[in-house]
């Protein structure tokens, strides 16, 4: 069934096709449409289960994980400040080793306040133990929710998963989406088999978490890490099965015209589709450009990335996030994956698209030029922010107006 769906509707459809039993919810722009749609479906009996509105994201994630610990299939969604407010629980519940899916609709963090997208919110959860999948299209959102459940519920993985989509660019943009038929989705994603998960009817037990010393603590944290790493292998299998059933490939790393590329754009999320367009235009102009996009960010697909980038001459990592005092997060991660590899490309770091700022085609072309120069000079350019002289002038004007207003005697006179 082909439909025109927004990214938010696609996320809701993912939960519907996964037959989520329980949805703890709390509204936040730009996620709200997801939970409102699900509430309507539950209300109309089109979905069986419960959506319950909590008093905050902190309790929402806690409730999600507690419900998952009883063996029901749980879906939830949030964005930005909401994800951060839940941060304490994100770390906590990965230690519970319970699977559920949380859709995050990326939005820049305060302050200053923005409603539009960048990836600092979801990357703040990077080290929590949640698996992370990043979508570039509405189609990928529906499919990723199903894939995420398969991955999260795999007995040897048993970790919650975040499926990320960009606020506005995907959440409110309609795209044609092929919805898997309900029966086919159910075959791909059978009912959740809780197995090892503790709580069972008529068998009371307490999962009070003990306070442990460093040695058992290390053991359990590292075990979680190994489970997440194991998810890489599981993902490849699950994605292959998905491709076979539905004819859509969602490899851990997407490579677009990168096989013979000299220069490569490296990014996650919806703006990668802009990079694809730039790649096509650069190719038309005779530049051997390509795109490499990790869909799976946790676990980090090191081997696949090394393969994808071996022999490329230069890579521009475009980070829609900023680790203050360090730079782009994806750049640092990729550098560590490629360090010491034979035939590793030059790595250039660009930070762009913060708080919803666009990345224009000309900026991709400019980056391509800079990579060309870097290849000739055998030296990567210094990191920089994608920002135009015009924008800076406008900022300066605003600052001048603000300064002038401040110096007006006004009420203090």
């Amino acid at each position: 069934m082909r439909r025109l769906l927004t990214g938010n509707a696609a996320a809701a459809w993912g939960a519907r096709l996964a037959r989520a039993d329980y949805v703890p919810a709390f509204p936040i722009t730009p996620q709200t449409e997801i939970i409102e749609l699900l509430a309507q479906w539950f209300g109309a009996g089109e979905m069986r289960g419960r959506l319950v509105m909590l008093e905050s994201e902190h309790s929402m994630v806690t409730a999600a994980a507690a419900a998952a610990a009883t063996g029901v299939r749980v879906f939830t969604a949030t964005s930005s400040q909401g994800l951060l407010y839940a941060m304490e629980m994100l770390y906590t519940v990965t230690g519970w080793r319970v699977p559920f899916v949380l859709v995050n609709v990326s939005r820049g963090l305060a302050s200053p306040i923005t409603l539009e997208s960048d990836h600092n919110d979801v990357l703040a959860a990077r080290d929590s133990g949640f698996l992370q999948m990043h979508c570039a299209t509405c189609q990928e959102i529906v499919d990723s929710v199903l894939l995420a459940y398969r991955l999260a519920e795999e007995p040897a993985v048993r970790l919650p998963a975040i499926v990320n989509l960009d606020g506005f660019h995907l959440s409110f943009t309609r795209e044609p989406v092929e919805l898997p038929p309900a029966e086919a989705a159910a075959e791909f994603l059978p009912p959740f088999e809780a197995r090892g998960i503790g709580f069972r009817a008529s068998r009371p037990s307490s999962q009070a978490v003990a306070v442990l010393g460093g040695s058992p603590y290390s053991y359990f944290r590292y075990e979680t890490h190994l489970a997440a790493q194991h998810a890489l292998e599981v993902y490849d299998g699950v994605a292959a099965e998905f491709a076979q059933r539905f004819g859509r490939r969602h490899d851990a790393v997407e490579c677009y015209r990168s096989d013979d590329a000299e220069i490569v754009f490296f990014m996650i999320g919806a703006f990668a589709t802009k990079a694809m367009d730039a790649v096509d235009r650069l190719r038309d102009a005779g530049v051997r450009a390509g795109l490499v996009r990790p869909r799976l960010l946790r676990p980090y697909p090191v081997a696949a990335l090394r393969r994808a980038l071996a022999g490329r001459r230069a890579v521009a990592v475009i980070d829609q996030n900023l680790s203050v005092g360090k730079g782009g997060v994806l750049h640092g991660e990729l550098a560590s994956a490629l360090y010491g590899q034979a035939e590793a490309p030059l790595l250039a770091s660009y930070v762009g698209g913060l708080g919803g700022r666009d990345i224009a085609p000309e900026e991709f072309f400019q980056i391509a030029r800079e990579l060309g120069e870097a290849i000739a000079a055998r030296q990567a350019p210094p990191p920089r922010l994608l920002y135009t002289a015009g924008e800076l002038r406008q900022m300066r004007n605003l600052q001048a107006i603000a300064a002038a207003e401040r110096s007006v005697p006004g009420v203090a006179a």
């Binding site: 509105m53 305060a110 009420v411």
Partner: protein
């Protein structure tokens, strides 16, 4: 109480900034804003001695619409910010403001503790029984049968009773106001600011967009039939028969406010060390 010699009283207009509110036409928050500016004028304070602190929500936009110091912060944290501010700068008049979602839901915990801590500040909640900014979801004060996209046929949950909670938690001044009476609300804000300790004003402030039926609130409100009391027991009994539309001061107590003065800080290392000698 602030500026020395209480220089010439400013007009309410002097407390209004040039920023044009982006509220929907008819939103109750417009008149709450003018009640605040009227009250500040009547209090003869100066904008530079007032801080208006809010969370996130339509109502929480209020600080930018005043000429006072303002902080439009994080959803649910208005009271935490206001407490820090007032304790560090007891000389300022601190007003925390926001919505029912901000104050009773995600920030509900702070409400309880602000009441019991009794720091000398005023908390104004613009209650529209809905999350306005996120387009109409039920809040803790929403009626159980209110039908919304997120709660078809209602939440079925009992409402939160802000005045009861405030009284039980130790707020020192408790009142209900209505946005349909800007002068009356301004008068209540003046009393609240003057009253020592934590003052709480619940303002019925309709969300005309997502709860258009609240336009009739102006016909339902009525002055509280009895005078304010300083006896928590009497206030509690009065709340038993509260129809939610009684306007006026419910309770003005005598609890001592939280002491904001710093204890004397040791001024030398020797003095500091002396404190560690057993």
């Amino acid at each position: 109480m602030n500026a020395p010699a209480q220089a010439a009283q400013l007009t309410p207009q002097k407390f209004k900034s040039d920023v044009k509110p982006v509220w929907c036409p008819g939103c109750g928050d417009y008149t709450v804003l003018s009640s605040i500016t009227k009250a500040l004028a009547a209090l003869a304070v100066r904008p530079e001695n007032v801080a208006v602190v809010s969370g996130i929500g339509c109502s929480s936009r209020i600080p930018a619409y005043t000429t006072c110091y303002g902080f439009h912060g994080v959803h649910g944290r208005a009271l935490a910010a206001a407490t820090g501010l007032k304790v560090a700068r007891p000389d300022l008049t601190v007003i925390a403001a926001g919505g029912d979602g901000d104050g009773y839901s995600i920030g509900g915990n702070h409400f309880l503790h602000a009441c019991r801590r009794n720091v000398d500040l005023t908390y104004i909640v613009m209650d529209n029984r809905v999350y306005g900014m996120t387009k109409g979801q039920p809040s803790p004060t929403t009626e159980p049968d209110w039908d919304s996209k997120l709660s078809p046929q209602g939440t079925g949950l009992r409402e939160f009773h802000p005045l009861v909670i405030a009284l039980a938690s130790g707020a020192n001044f408790i009142a209900r106001a209505t946005s349909s009476d800007p002068n009356g609300t301004a008068e209540l804000i003046v009393q609240a600011v003057r009253h020592p300790g934590f003052s709480f004003i619940e303002v019925l402030s309709p969300c005309v967009t997502f709860r258009p039926e609240q336009r009739t609130w102006k016909d339902r409100v009525h002055p509280a039939p009895v005078a304010p009391t300083d006896d928590p027991g009497r206030a509690a009994r009065r709340l038993m028969t509260d129809d939610g539309f009684n306007i006026g001061v419910l309770y003005a107590g005598h609890r001592k406010p939280y002491r904001t003065e710093q204890s004397a800080t040791p001024s030398s290392v020797a003095e500091l060390e002396a404190e560690f000698i057993l």
